[in-house]
Amino acid sequence: MAAARPMRLFRNINAKIAAIPMVLTALVVFTGGTIWTVVYSFTNSKLLPREKWVGLQQYERLWGTERWNVAIENLLIYGACMVVFSLVIGFVLAALLDQKIRFENTFRTILLYPFALSFIVTGLVWQWLLNPDFGIQSVIQAMGWESFDFDPLYNADIVIYGVLIAGLWQGTGLVMCLMLAGLRGIDQEIWKAARVDGIPMWKTYIFIVIPMMRPVFITTLVIIASGIVRLYDLIVAQTGGGPGIASDVPAKYVYDYMFQGQNLGQGFAASTMMLLAVLVVIIPWAYLEFGGKKRV
């Protein structure tokens, strides 16, 4: 690339000036903000941040709290299901759309439009659809199936699946779109060769095409994962964390304690744990990518 010569401060000065917003964002906001949050998670700050150090006390309380454990469990269930279902459904839909069908654009438009809507809107619509007195349950009961029982939003055991339905509705279209882009990147010769060898189509997909799409799968996975950790708006709009605390998620715990409970230290400790979780997802991915290939 252009400027790989010995560096002096005024060499390439315009590029450096242009990069100032990026440098400030990276250092002041992202790095500075993160360090600040981590540091203050070791204090007992309440409504206002203050430097009264209490060591790991906030973390001990955090992991001893029933609600945090419920939130973590929900995130794991939601996360695992979201990853599996959105990848499988997204890929199958993309493969179907890739069969040289008519109206491909129409189908694609329909499958992707929920992605243009916010989580607040998504949450409100599905809250309405899953309302036991007016929604799907009551309609099916009115059709004669009296014993039909489907009220995930009011049943603590399955509420997280009610949220999952809405999350999948909103997000699968994007996965489908990414997969389709990946499929279109597959060389046509592969299909021809597979046909010549008489390999059935499903085998071609599973054993040849999917391994070739590994980069797309990995990037998609990271996008889904970062969305899962940030899950907040949807919960607030759809269930408010209820019934009880059954659909709570870490992001909501952080927000509630930081601002509502006026216990910043607790909120900071919880958000530091979230940050750790993200690093756990990202570092292996970065390592995999970095270890596997040279620069292009």
């Binding site: 309440k46 019934p243 009880g244 059954a246 601002f259 216990n263």
Partner: protein, 410 residues
């Protein structure tokens, strides 16, 4: 380069757009029908009696949503003119940090110490001898609202106390009526539990548990009985699929539910629906067990702005809020009790009169908000919302977790 210019331009813009002389932005979370009507009274009185203008900054979703927004505004250095908090410890740290204005001069000029009744209200506003807030009303939590129509349908007498109500629950259920309504928001669950504690175990127990953080008391026999009562209540509220408190009240109004434990603000909803106390519904202060009311409520606080014009408007608002006419007009709409005993509430209904009588007799107790920090309240919310929604948690387990919270409270 670009960044700096933007910053400077932004700072200039910010300075230029500061509130003009007499516009006072007032933030609150009163958005239900009765509440909005009540706050309108404040705005009218304020604009009528002074030359200042009321800029309404309502935030929907209750205190839980609104408080963080207010606090970040104040911390962020862009405070509103005045804001509403519940009485008590919610504003403690803002006062310590010097972010709120000392209003003692207004209090002295208006003689608040002589007129505010009970005096504990003003004490809750006082830190180091200085008065930081203007109390505007008294709200009490300890009310059981019963639907006369629902009991009639089930062929039952309207209960006179909590035990009779519990005994009537199976019959109500048989008649296809939800015995008791409870909304899904967390604060409603912990609120109802605190009422059970204050009435079934008594106000002294509550004072000892929350006021002194007495973990032994929290683990003891009395509280055990309260938790059993809460378990009874849990059975009674099974199936009331509503979120907001006023939706739950609406179930009582429409005779779909037998009753609800809710603060006196529920009164406003009955009034809006045109129901008559004693005929359409019955109210039991102290659940008909111990007639006692907590004296929590709302108060207005005034952030430091360093702007003399705003300060003048703040002083004027503080004085207006406690004037007798304002108190009467506001509290009749809000369903709460006035903070001064010297005003005439002839038009109050039966329930409100019961409340006024208890107040006059001094049968009062401090509000939970005055004893607990928001952190503790938030933990209690988590515990009780889970307890009331999830029948698999036994009363004993819940009590053990309760003891933990009490032992670690500050």
């Amino acid at each position: 380069m670009t960044f700096r210019t933007i910053l400077m331009a932004g700072t200039a813009l910010c300075a230029g757009s500061a509130l003009s002389a007499a516009d006072l932005e007032v933030t609150h979370w009163w958005t239900s029908g009765g509440e909005a009507a009540a706050v309108q009274q404040f705005a009218t009185e304020f604009e009528g009696q002074t030359e200042h203008k009321w800029i309404d900054g309502a935030i929907a979703g209750g205190g839980g949503t609104a408080r963080p927004v207010m606090v970040s505004r104040i911390i962020g250095g862009d405070p509103m003119g005045a804001f509403q908090f519940n009485h008590g410890r919610q504003a403690e740290e803002l006062i310590e940090a010097g972010l709120l204005r000392d209003m003692t001069h207004v209090a002295e000029a208006e003689g608040w110490t002589d007129i505010v009744n009970p005096p504990s209200l003003l004490e809750a506003c006082t830190v180091d001898g200085k008065i930081y807030c203007a109390p505007v009303n008294i709200h009490s939590w300890q009310w059981l609202w019963l639907s006369n129509g629902a009991f009639e349908k089930a062929g039952l007498e309207v209960p006179a106390n909590w035990d009779e109500f519990v005994a009537a629950a199976p019959a109500l259920k048989e008649a296809g009526i939800q015995p008791m309504a409870l909304g899904g928001q967390p604060w409603q669950s912990s609120g109802a539990f605190n009422v059970l504690m204050a009435t079934l175990a008594g106000p002294d127990v509550l004072q000892q548990v929350y006021g002194d953080g007495d973990a032994e008391m929290a683990a003891g026999e009395e509280l055990g009985r309260v938790f059993q009562a809460a378990a009874d209540m849990r059975e009674m509220v099974q199936g009331s699929n509503v979120q907001d408190w006023n939706q739950a009240t609406n179930l009582v109004i429409t005779d779909a539910a037998g009753g609800q434990i809710m603060g006196d603000w529920a009164q406003g909803e009955f009034a809006v629906a045109g129901e008559v106390a004693g005929e359409d519904y019955t109210c039991l202060p102290g659940l008909g067990v111990i007639e006692v009311l907590s004296t929590g409520g709302d108060a207005f606080y005034f952030p430091e702005t360093g702007d003399a014009e705003i300060e003048a408007a703040q002083d004027a608002l503080a004085a207006t809020l406690l004037k007798p006419e304002t108190q009467v007009a506001f509290n009749l709409k809000k369903g709460s009790l006035p903070i001064r005993g010297d005003v005439d509430l002839a038009s109050a209904n039966d329930c409100m009169k019961k409340g006024l009588q208890l107040l006059a007799d001094g049968k009062t107790m401090p509000d939970v908000n005055m004893l607990n920090t928001e952190d503790t309240n938030n933990q209690l919310n988590d515990l009780f919302v889970q307890f009331f929604q999830d029948p698999s948690i036994s009363a004993e387990d819940a009590q053990a977790r309760f003891v933990d919270i009490v032992a670690n409270k500050d």
